[in-house]
Symmetry: C2
Subunit: 217 residues, 2 copies
Amino acid sequence: MSSHVEENYLKAIYKLTERNKDGAYTNDIAYELNIKPATVTEAIKKLGEKGLIHYEKYKAVTLTELGKQIAIKTIRKHRLWEVFLVEKLGFKWDEIHPMAEELEHIGFEELTERLAQFLGNPEFDPHGDPIPDRDGNFAKTKSIKLTGVSLNGTAVMTGIENHTTSFLQHLDKIGIKLGISITVKEIVDFDKSMLISVNGEKEVYLSQEIASNILCK
Amino acid sequence: MSSHVEENYLKAIYKLTERNKDGAYTNDIAYELNIKPATVTEAIKKLGEKGLIHYEKYKAVTLTELGKQIAIKTIRKHRLWEVFLVEKLGFKWDEIHPMAEELEHIGFEELTERLAQFLGNPEFDPHGDPIPDRDGNFAKTKSIKLTGVSLNGTAVMTGIENHTTSFLQHLDKIGIKLGISITVKEIVDFDKSMLISVNGEKEVYLSQEIASNILCK
DNA sequence: TTTAATTTTTAGGTTTGCCTAAAAATATTT
DNA sequence: AAATATTTTTAGGCAAACCTAAAAATTAAA
């Protein structure tokens, strides 16, 4: 199995296991990777034999220590390249994912570490997601959803829970970006949408769906 | 055929056609790509059908305009990344080839162009090879081999004809790098090796083999 | 607790990009 | 121009990574 494909499976399993403690299900992995479940069954059997995941028929899979290391390294590479694309090449945060998705598979330890150094060993990527260090440790961040901020409370925007282009572009349009301060001016009783002010200026309504995908501290 | 594989074939054919005007032979392509001739036959048939090369059974192949464009774009990407690796990440010129060999296949036009801009639109890579511009035009360079410099003549080192690690490391050791000035102090009658002085200082003997792989102007 | 629905796996196929061995074509010698 | 050598192609195979359709196992519902 090519390391490119392998890394994608491990990354998907890592992501799903974050959400679902007992592991990643065949169907979910397939959905995540845009392939069919039958293909996933084949693949996870092999990953099991390679010692990268714990595989038992009909059960959710989990990563072994080795598999987890590889997944985290891939995430590290992905997020470092995202920083590069934004900080050095001037891309916007909604443009970088597909490029990072390819760059993350370039596998030279020395390249990754020099890139990190060149970027000033950043701890967060342009979406506010933590970048694991070379040993695989993530900076601890205890953020809350914007929906958890009480009326008249103020919070600093630190991240997002949804990474789709449309969501990112919408945040751009209303002026929400990392580090900005958000004050909750009103919570509409009817649908729990909220009126917020961005950096004490612009006021906009956010649906609960949007607010619940914005992370703050 | 994956663009990764396709680009490698086109690059190999481009390189071979540079050397051998009538085109690239099956055997040579196979040697260049470290695969077997039978595999090449299969591949070039497909590349022919795709309109990327001119293919006729038992004949050397040449690139079509389209095939040439893709080859040159790949070379552009390769050399830009090499500049990045040396100028920004501090790698040495003998370390970068394998990394650039992977980075070159990342195919986002916008990424390439922003990278080029970030690097200051360099015209030459760390080995002195010209970087084609976005339209595929190479800076014209009329360099000569160091073996063509006459006794007591001085020339500026501008490139190399051999890109092996061992050659690059040897040049490093004796202090030869791009831009350095070389004076021919002596040409040994017996084997045509030459005594040179590097930047008017250090004197070393170079075999004819080495001298013929050093380009100057 | 039996039936129904869902999920996972198996079985059998396809394409891609590689391989070896042998046949066919081309090129080189004698 | 024959014979020999070299090069290229054909033929048949293999593993990876995907697929569909059907069978088996598990989970949920009646």
